[in-house]
């Protein structure tokens, strides 16, 4: 059994942390690292692609693998280029909710539609944290943020349900409270031959907790109380939303190349 110190030594770069006290970013990094450790994937074959925002800084520069820290919202198409160009690489995308479902929403839909073999971790803290806590597409109706001081007049959307409907092979939702399940789900995502999407509800004590009188621990406790693995429950569902086999883009492209005699 590998120890926490060994995980840190092997997977985390020695770099000052940019994360606030109580942030869930480090927990996501821990889950990704442990999932890779448990899997058959070689660390050298991993490319972690991210966009802009707090979540984008989880892999870059902290994760000790090849990293591609790109422009806002575009991590999925950058990652698609990497994967299509070299199918032997295991490509992970770490993206915040604003990055992934807001500015990058269209790429998310088409990544899912193509069922391209990427592993997308959407770190959902419900707002734009790095820029001060503005409203995001995942902020609840009526919620107060920096730019909805009178309550959010818009509505949020269920990103995981949208990705499932768009055609992804594998969709799940967990929170940072559910570390063991999350590690297993990331490992499952890497095994999946298709688009894997994991929504990770993640606490932001600085921009969100403070407004609601909660610190990081309170927010984890809130996830524990307000989620359920039972789909029939009124609480927020956590678990696997879908896991199906479908044609995958990169394999299909390479099959055509083979059939046409390309090398």
């Amino acid at each position: 059994m590998i120890t926490a110190a060994e995980i840190k030594e092997k997977y985390v770069r020695n770099h000052p942390s940019p994360f606030c006290p109580g942030c869930g970013g480090g927990m996501v990094l821990n889950a990704m690292s442990r999932a890779v450790e448990r899997s058959d994937v070689e660390k050298e074959d991993i490319v972690a692609v991210s966009g802009i925002g707090c979540a984008a800084w989880i892999p870059s520069p902290h994760w000790r693998v090849d990293t591609l820290h790109t422009t806002h919202g575009r991590a999925i198409p950058f990652a698609s280029g990497v994967k299509i160009a070299n199918r032997d690489l295991e490509v992970m995308v770490v993206s915040g909710d604003g990055d992934c479902a807001g500015i990058g929403g269209n790429h998310l839909l088409h990544g899912a539609r193509n069922n391209i073999d990427l592993n997308v971790l959407m770190v959902n803290n419900g707002l734009y944290a790095m820029t001060g806590g503005q409203v995001a597409p995942t902020t609840e109706h009526g919620e107060r943020t920096l730019t909805t001081p009178h309550g959010n007049p818009a509505s949020s959307f269920e990103v995981a349900e949208v990705v499932k409907a768009a055609g992804a092979s594998h969709v799940a939702r967990w929170t940072t409270y559910h570390m063991k399940e999350l590690i297993a789900e990331v490992e499952k995502a890497m095994e999946t031959d298709g688009f894997s999407f994991i929504e990770i509800m993640t606490q932001c004590p600085t921009r969100k907790g403070k407004k609601q009188g909660m610190d990081g621990i309170d927010m984890l406790a809130w996830y524990k109380e307000n989620t359920s693995k039972d789909k029939e429950s009124d609480k927020m569902f956590v678990g696997t939303l879908c896991d199906v086999e479908k044609p995958e883009l990169v394999g299909s492209i390479y099959r055509q190349i083979d059939e046409l005699g390309g090398v």
């Binding site: 575009r74 698609s80 990497v82 070299n86």
Partner: protein, 371 residues
């Protein structure tokens, strides 16, 4: 891929064939007039040489995936026109900042905005140089024939790999849709990016004279840090220090500026004449014809055509401007004008929109300037 030989081809097809000949193994794009033929042709032919073709959901995604592909070591390309080129600007800047070789073909059409999709224009010349935010230098080449759609596509890949910079093939609907004879050679000049020697850790800084650091691929165990944020030589982000910003951005600019002699290229004839016609792209065809006619009629007229738009041949333009009147003939009102204006004192302009003029229309303008 076509064998070496002589063909009668459309410019966009010559561009696609040249890409394969130059070793391009990745193409991502989105349909747009008048550039689509590049993509249509590669969708059919690229897989046959082992290349990956993908049509993306938009132009932002197209250039993003091209950059991602380039970091796996493949020569990669996209093609578009004005509206798509506008969408690509942010990621084009990302390619400059991360020093990612790639080729972006812009078959320019009449703008602004949707403009006239099937009509030629060269209103994107300044955008090619200044379109993305911040300080940078970039390379843009201008073909004026189907042969040059081939040759300059090959050169775009070579320059892009040599200098780790995106290169823009700044074509226009005139040359993109023109059909004429083209010679596909047996061999073309292929340049591969500089690879690091073992143990090397600096992929984003160098003390070499050419200012070009070596570039590894993903999957080679380098634990690469590639970021559009300001970074140090090992790729690690430095969002605050003066020294990081100063050292990186000055080198990115110097990389093009100091290698200008190798990059710049032009065609000239009698450039010490009383009047020199400066023109580029498809417009340079009737312009060159008009110069020929004027000389036949005994007028002292010369011709200058930049093939490298950026970095611009500013020293040569200044020399020409010192002794000669200059007539700039271009398919736009503001295309290259500011660049020529700053180099030349006695400047006259023949600007044309929508379509190419006849040789006689340019010739009349030459006579008017000479009078």
């Amino acid at each position: 891929m076509m064998d070496a030989g002589e063909y009668f081809l459309e410019g966009n097809i010559a561009c696609a064939e040249a890409a394969m000949k130059a070793g391009c193994l990745f193409y991502a794009g989105y349909p747009i007039t008048p550039a689509s033929e590049v993509m249509n042709h590669l969708s059919k032919e690229l897989p046959k040489v082992g290349g990956r073709f993908v049509q993306m959901e938009d132009e932002i995604a197209s250039i993003a995936s091209v950059i991602g592909s380039s970091w796996t070591g493949l020569k990669s390309m996209t093609a578009t026109s004005g509206p798509g080129f506008s969408l690509m600007q942010e990621n084009l800047g990302y390619a400059v900042m991360t020093e990612t070789p790639c080729v972006v073909v812009n078959v320019q059409r009449a703008g602004p905005s949707t403009g006239q999709a099937t009509k030629p224009g060269t209103g994107d010349v300044m955008q090619a140089r200044f379109g993305s935010q911040g300080d940078y230098e970039i390379i843009a080449l201008s073909p004026n024939s189907v042969q040059e759609m081939f040759d300059l596509t090959v050169r775009s890949f070579a320059l892009s790999e040599r200098y780790r910079v995106p290169v823009i093939l700044l074509a226009d609907a005139g040359v993109g849709h023109m059909r004429e004879r083209v010679k596909i050679p047996e061999e073309v000049e292929i340049v591969d990016r500089k690879k690091p020697s073992s143990g090397e850790k600096e992929f984003f800084d160098t003390s070499e004279e050419d200012h070009v650091p070596p570039m590894p691929n993903f999957g080679e165990g380098h634990e690469l840090l590639v970021t559009g944020s300001t970074h140090l030589g090992d790729g690690s982000r430095d969002t605050a220090s003066f020294s990081a910003q100063d050292r990186l951005v000055r080198r990115l600019v110097a990389k093009i500026e100091d290698n200008k002699r190798d990059i710049e290229d032009w065609e000239e004839r009698d450039a010490d004449a009383e009047l020199v016609v400066v023109s580029y792209g498809s417009m340079s065809r009737p312009a060159r014809g008009a110069v020929k006619k004027a000389r036949e009629k005994g007028h002292d007229v010369g011709f200058f055509r930049p093939k490298t738009m950026w970095p611009s041949p500013e020293e040569r333009l200044k020399e020409i401007g010192e002794g000669s009147k200059v007539l700039l003939a271009e398919l736009s009102l503001r295309g290259y004008r500011m660049e020529v204006e700053r180099c030349v004192d006695d400047l006259y302009v023949y600007d044309r929109l929508n379509s190419l003029p006849t040789v006689d229309e340019v010739y009349e303008k030459i006579l008017e300037v000479l009078r």
